[in-house]
Every structure is written in structure tokens, then in C-alpha cells.
Amino acid sequence: MRTDPLIARLAAADPCPATPPPAARPGRGRRTLLAAVAAAVAAVPAVGLAGGVGGLFGFSTQGRPVATGDTPFSQVSGLDEAMAELGFPSTLQLIASRDGIDFYAARRADGHVCVAVDAAPGAAAHKGVGCDLGNPSLPGEPAFPSPERPIFDFSRFGGHLAGFAADGVSTVELLDAGGNVIASAPVIDNVYAEADPPAGGAAVEALDAEGTVVYERSFDQTP
């Protein structure tokens, strides 16, 4: 329901948002955009590693290159402007399609990572794009992927359990407001997806191969 464009527009006009988008901080290199017409735009801190996307995430393949202009995101009003604003590269890699959800990733020329999720191929809704525009050296702004920030989650935006996970994360679970696990998805090729989890998700947690919770993030927090 929250990806309904009209409700998303009304939500974006919330006079008292739970987590107000932080203002741009010139010189610190971090910006965050939240909530668009059909999906959401999020930003996470940068990771200054060289090499391709595959090297960064530890994917077994680089995926299939797709011109950014040919991706479904560029056809959605709001997301196309967001991608331009975030400086998406001209080519994205379609790295995985799981449970009906397509996952894209790319690296900007300056080394920052951009990701995109399409949970409704062929439709305008249920899409999200995000870029890291941050500074990984800043305390309190841990970079994805890192032990402090091992997942980049899109679950809050469309009723799906979906996102990107760093190496070392085996499972991502969706929790309700009471902390009960209501859905779980294995991490394969650094992505996780469960297209139709039960309603009521309020947080996600990441588990390692031993089943230890290594990270938890409430949907009340900024992405």
C-alpha cells in the first residue's frame, strides 16, 4: 500500500516524519533522499574500493550489463530524477533475479556504489534506487558493505523482504513490532528476496552462517 503512488506522495508530505531526511552537508559528501512517487530513494555511505561491482560485493558473476536508460527505473517519474540527482552510472549490472525481484548494482566513477531493486517488472510501482554518497571514514556513518553495515535493505518500501547483503551474511529475517521473526530469506549471490512476506514487518536482522544476529535495523531508522 505504501508503494501506491498517491499514498507515497501523501507520505512524502508528512509534516512530522519519523526520521526526517538529513540535510545536505556540503564538504562531508553525504546526501540522503527519501520517498518518491512510486518507490523510495535511499543513500548509504560510500565504500572506496577499486575494481568492479563484483569485486566489491564478492559476487560470483558481474551480472548482465544494462544501459541505465533502458532500465525500468528510468521510466518512472520521480525515480529518473532521483537517479540523475544521485549520479547513477550510464550502465547498471543486473546481478540477480530472485522471487520475481530484479537486483541491479553499479559503481559510479568516483567509486561510490549505486543499487536498484525492481519488485514489479513491467509495472511502474515497487521499485527503489539508492546510492552511497557518503564518506566511509566518518565516525557514525559506517559504510555498506561492512561489519557495521552488512545489508542495504529495501524491505520497508514495498511489502517485500529484499535487499543486498555483504559477504558473511547468510540469512536476513523480517521481524514484526514485537521482535518475532515473520519471514526469512537466504542470501544468495549477495542478495535476498521474499516477495510476499506476512504484513507487519518492522525491522530486519542479518544472521551469519552460525545463526548469530550480526545486525539489526528498525524501519524507524534511516535506511
Binding site: R2, D4, L6, I7, L10, A13, D14, P15, A18, A177
Partner: protein, 174 residues
């Protein structure tokens, strides 16, 4: 027993204070927020035994009644002072002018169900708890409200577009 109640109340207060504060701030003028939030939690303390396991929709319902009482009292004061009470209705959709105008054209019933879904991000089941109606009735109410908002928006945007595309009084050629 009293200690258990206190501990339960503390937990509810800690957990939901921010949500209840945001709920109230979205609906009333800033200087009334603190009192109304406090009033909501006083009711919570008094009725702790009646609290369901999912406390937040219940708290929103209490806050909603508290706000309604606040507006009724304001209206009485305004009437006593000879002022129009209509001006006291707070419409805090400010960031999207067309949406704000469309939203203002809706009834309060329509606005509230849309706010609960879009701003409080409640499911329709929880919104029904806040509104004190059956989930099915809430679903119907929501979809009708959404349809009316879409129609208002479409009309306003069409009107604005027509105004912008009106030919220059002196004429224009290409």
C-alpha cells in the same frame, strides 16, 4: 502489582512516546502538543488493564479522542469570543501545494484514514482499531477516500495545467 503496572506503563511510554507525539503533532498546532500527549498517557495509565497487547493503535485512538476534545473546547472558546471555529482546524500538509489543496477538500473522515495509512503507516486492520470500525468498513473507507483524493488532485492539476497553457493575451506563434 502496582510495581508491575508501573513497569508495564514505563515500557509502553518508552516505546510509544515518539509515535504518539508525532501523531499529535501532525494534527494540532505546536503549542498544544505536549499537553495532549500527556493527557493521552494519563488515560493510558488509568486504563492500563484494558490495554491490548498491541498498544499503539489503542494509544492513537485515545489521542484521537483527546484531540477531538481539544478542538471541541477550542470551538466553544472561539464561539464565546465571537470568532469562527473553522479557522482552528489544523491542516499541516505544507510541502506539496496541490496535494494540500486536494487534501483540504476532503472530509475529516477521509483525511484521517489516509493520514493513518500514509503518515502513521498503519495497516488497514490497525487503522480500523484507531477509528473504532470493522476492518472491512475501514478498507472501504480508505479506498473511497483514496479515490476522492485522486479525483480532487486530477481536477486541480488539470485546472493548473490549463491555466499554464492558456495563450498569451497578445497571441503567440511558432
Amino acid at each position: 502489582m502496582q510495581r508491575h503496572a508501573k513497569s508495564r506503563f514505563d515500557e509502553i511510554y518508552r516505546r510509544h512516546l515518539d509515535d504518539v507525539t508525532r501523531y499529535v503533532r501532525r494534527r494540532v498546532e505546536a503549542d498544544a502538543v505536549e499537553d495532549l500527549v500527556a493527557e493521552t498517557f494519563v488515560v493510558c495509565w488509568r486504563k492500563l488493564d484494558e490495554l491490548p497487547s498491541e498498544a499503539l493503535p489503542w494509544l492513537y485512538a485515545v489521542a484521537r479522542n483527546t484531540i477531538a476534545n481539544h478542538y471541541r473546547a477550542s470551538a466553544r472558546r472561539d464561539a464565546a469570543a465571537g470568532a469562527s471555529p473553522a479557522g482552528s482546524v489544523f491542516q499541516p500538509v505544507e510541502q506539496d501545494d496541490v496535494l494540500a489543496r486536494a487534501f483540504a477538500h476532503l472530509s475529516e473522515t477521509d483525511r484521517e484514514v489516509l493520514r493513518l495509512v500514509a503518515w502513521e503507516q498503519l495497516s488497514l486492520r490497525d487503522a480500523a482499531r484507531v477509528l473504532g470500525c470493522a476492518p472491512v468498513a475501514c478498507r472501504v473507507r480508505f479506498h473511497r477516500a483514496r479515490r476522492r483524493l485522486a479525483a480532487e488532485l486530477q481536477a486541480l492539476e488539470a485546472r493548473d495545467a490549463a491555466a499554464h497553457s492558456r495563450p498569451h493575451p497578445e497571441g503567440a506563434t511558432s
